[in-house]
Amino acid sequence: MKSPASYALTAYGEMMAPTRRMHAYADALRHAVRPGATVLDIGAGTGIFSLLACRFGAGQVHAVEPDDALLLASSFAADNGCADRITLHQRLSTEVNLPVRADVVVSDLRGILPLFQHHIPAIIDARERLMLPGGVLIPMRDTLYACLVESPEHYARYRVPWLENDFGLDLHAGHPMAVNSWRNTRITPAQVLTPPQAWCTLDYRTIDSPDVRGDVAWTAQRAGVAHGVGLWFDAELVPGVGFSNAPGEPELVYGQAFFPLQSELSLETGDRISIALSARLVGADYVFSWRTTVVGVNGGAKARFEQSTFLGEPLSLARLKRMDARFAPARTEAIDIDQECLAMASGVTKLEDMAQRLTEKFPRRFPKALDALAYVAHLFEHYEPAPAPVSIANTPDELE
């Protein structure tokens, strides 16, 4: 079964579709890969960039991907005559060591925005540890742009159902969280209220921190109602080769991000709007904060909003307290169950025998042996070591 964090195969298919993104990546690889080059493909998915790198003359390709999608890369490599040049590493790139450093590192670990989970730390790690000095990083640079968005349609999703719903229910407690959450969207050129401004540039050749902060500001050129801030990125894969996600450009897999304003903002021509926007990687995810200040043409303050995704989700105090260094966990049945299972792990006792033991010892928790079997299988999946690198040419299938 797919975990929610994994891409479905159809999503991999969409990413491989012949869009400007794929053509740009192919062009970049064609420019960067010299005959015999070693290429590292991070977040390889089903290995499309690895296959292209082989087609453009790579001597050795390391395809790194923790998801089972990588298993398809093995078939693709054989079907495309490059099985002898691709080595599969089913793990995170930060866990990989290479026999020789790569001449080219290609990746697309972005989400809607490049500020996504551990994208930037993974690139920094690969650049410093796995790439030859002076090697080629694809992408080379992403630039993030911001504009004010006028779109009652987008904003309605922050009012409904919290402030308005068909059932007469009072759901307003959810509204403060909703307006501190951003969402993936499609912004049309007609919804762009202020001209795009560059918010930040992520130059992967030199970047040394996943955190970003910067200011954008506009003087309103026309009256209108601002509902939020739109963000997107333009990519430069190698010099002169890239693609844009700006409103009006053909749709790619990324889309644009919409950060709502705390409340609708009526602007008059000449109003000065400034937004301090920051993104900090905390744990596995980014905390985005956006502080909006509006000064009217007469110099008076019109609005000041402080928003953050830190305020955008219900926060469980009980869960936080369980993560406190001073928290002393109590003995529970769940701990007894896991301890029972772990004590049986010796390379001899089979999962079905463990499951049987669980049904006998914890009959209320596991009334059926199948429930216990599913539990122990899931438990030990967590402890399985990542598979060793696989050179596709040496798999039994290939030797037959």
């Binding site: 900090r280 905390v282 905390v287 830190f310 926060l315 105090l317 936080l320 307290k321 993560m323």
Partner: protein, 94 residues
């Protein structure tokens, strides 16, 4: 730290109320901290620009608490928060 210090909450420190308590997140370290209801009220007073002495004036009026004890407790709390970079003296900031 003393009672006349003007205090400031660094930009990388965020806070939100959860029930009666205040959860503080240091974006720099990714660590969470908690304050009880009185601590939460004090945090908001500091955030609004009051110094320690001024914040104590407000709290003494609002809560049934002896001033000497409150001064000692809040000085200790302020020093503890400062040790975790959750609070700075204004003179320390750029």
């Amino acid at each position: 730290m003393n009672l006349n210090d003007n205090l400031e909450i660094p930009e990388q420190v965020m806070a939100r109320e959860v029930g009666d308590e205040l959860v503080i997140l240091d974006l720099g370290s990714g660590r969470y901290f908690g304050l009880d209801a009185l601590g939460a009220r004090w945090w908001h007073l500091i955030g609004s620009g009051k110094n320690l002495a001024e914040s104590i004036d407000v709290l003494v009026a609002e809560y049934e608490v002896a001033r000497p004890q409150l001064e000692a407790d809040l000085l200790e709390l302020a020093n503890a928060l400062a040790a975790h970079n959750l609070l700075t003296r204004k003179s320390q900031t750029r």
